[in-house]
Symmetry: none
Subunit: 252 residues, 2 copies
DNA sequence: AAAAAAACGAACGCAAACGAACATTCGTTC
DNA sequence: GAACGAATGTTCGTTTGCGTTCGTTTTTTT
């Protein structure tokens, strides 16, 4: 139970930013710090925030995926990639996003976009974007994979087929030297392929580690991809291929 | 139960803006603040708004609902109802569960069942049951409603249609004196109806408060229900009806 | 390790918001 | 046209929120 307007907004704030400060909030709401302290006490007592000196943070633990995700994201260069990718997506666009921590990073960067329609088979993305009030979220149905919150299976594919997306933001497990996108999971591959078919603009987000990995299944060739976002320069061979494929490469 | 045009507009307003103020609404509708307070009370009582000093806000979103829900669930006699209902469901069964705190309580009681296949349009249930490793969870796809973690819409219905369930566990917003099951949300009604069609055994979980409430839409008649779980004795009239319907009533 | 600064929580008082009870208006029913 | 019920307005005692003050705890600086 929140007892005033501020508290619900503070919660929202905290979830977006990961933390809030007493002073910052006091200034923002033009009230005394004491009032803010009272608010934070209430929110902390009900377990929705964790009080720290000078402010409050979102509690860690299973309950809050956003915060954990944010931490995981920040430690890598994924955020930089995500920022670039989010810049390409305009307000009001329809977007598909699949399973993967890279795509989740993009979701975090989409929190301030407006009026998006996002279709995803990734439960974490649904959670992250639920903090964005103007965003319509459509979950693809199917079998829930508890290891990563992914939704997979034939039903998922069927559902994705019913849409036509302005953009799709895809992650993958690995990228082969010849440019093929690879993955471990056959069911997820089917979902990704379907999304590619249904999208006007296909974007892949992959940090440099993906270029060193291997995976058994092919999702598609880089030629099917419109923009590849990554954090290091590609090998000469791959760069040349991309030119041939007319695939735009964005390096952070 | 939206008893006047204002209330539905206020809801719309609140969902758009995130909040509404008593003063603002009073001025806008040119009525006294007391009248607005009455409206907000009604909306808050049915859980569609959360009352705060000076106005109301939309209930907190899905992200933290799990945590809050767990607390809310335990406080009522819902647990007792849920225990009874869970006893009826054997290991290995296929089960559909819809939106509602009562069904979530049942989900908690299913954590020790084995090899269930659970289809749900309730994100919280998916999360709760993800702790049960032997349980296969299938999420119905569709539009995510951030206020309660429900998944609704035509796509959801289509997906539910593809299954045939041993049992379905349904909650509702209210139960009419003549035995009709009622709900606020038209889209959710469609999902529930579909689930009933596709189920061999239909079970409804409803605490006694539901018998005092009203809601505008009919899901089905009690005659379509095989077992009704509740925590207090029914009115004589309703009990007699149930006998006529061949609906088994289980009271905790 | 001591001192200074910042943050904290408890207590008090005022003003705003609140809800219960009662009064009024208006449309329906008999 | 009298009786009724639902919706709204009115009044009033009660509760709640917020600023202020002050003594305590925590953090930073010296």
């Amino acid at each position: 139970m929140v007892s005033n307007f501020r508290q619900s907004e503070i919660l929202e704030f905290a979830r977006k930013e990961g933390k809030v400060t007493v002073d910052g909030l006091a200034e923002h709401y033009n009230v005394t710090v004491q009032t803010i302290r009272r608010d934070l006490s209430v929110l902390a007592e009900s377990g929705r925030l964790e009080r720290v000196h000078g402010g409050a943070v979102v509690p860690s633990g299973v309950v809050n995926i956003i915060y954990e995700e944010r931490r995981r994201t920040n430690e890598a260069g994924k955020k930089a990639i995500a920022v670039k990718c989010a810049q390409v997506i305009p307000d009001g666009a329809s977007v598909f996003m699949n399973i993967g921590t890279s795509t989740e990073a993009v979701a975090l960067e989409l929190l301030d976009h407006e009026n998006l329609l996002v279709v995803t088979n990734n439960l974490n993305i649904a959670y992250i974007l639920s903090a964005n009030k103007t965003c319509e979220i459509i979950l693809a149905g199917g079998i829930l994979r508890r290891t990563d919150g992914g939704i997979v299976g034939g039903l998922t594919v069927e559902m994705v087929k019913q849409f036509k997306f302005d953009h799709s933001v895809l992650g993958c497990s690995a990228i082969d030297v010849d440019g093929d996108l690879l993955d471990f999971d056959g069911q997820e591959v089917m979902v990704s392929r379907t999304a590619i078919q249904q999208s006007r603009n296909v974007m892949v987000v992959a940090d440099h580690i993906k270029f060193k990995r291997k995976a058994p299944l092919t999702i598609c060739a880089l030629g099917d991809v419109d923009i590849l976002f990554t954090d290091r320069a590609l090998s000469d061979e791959l760069a040349a291929n991309c030119e041939g494929f007319k695939t735009l490469v964005v390096t952070t």
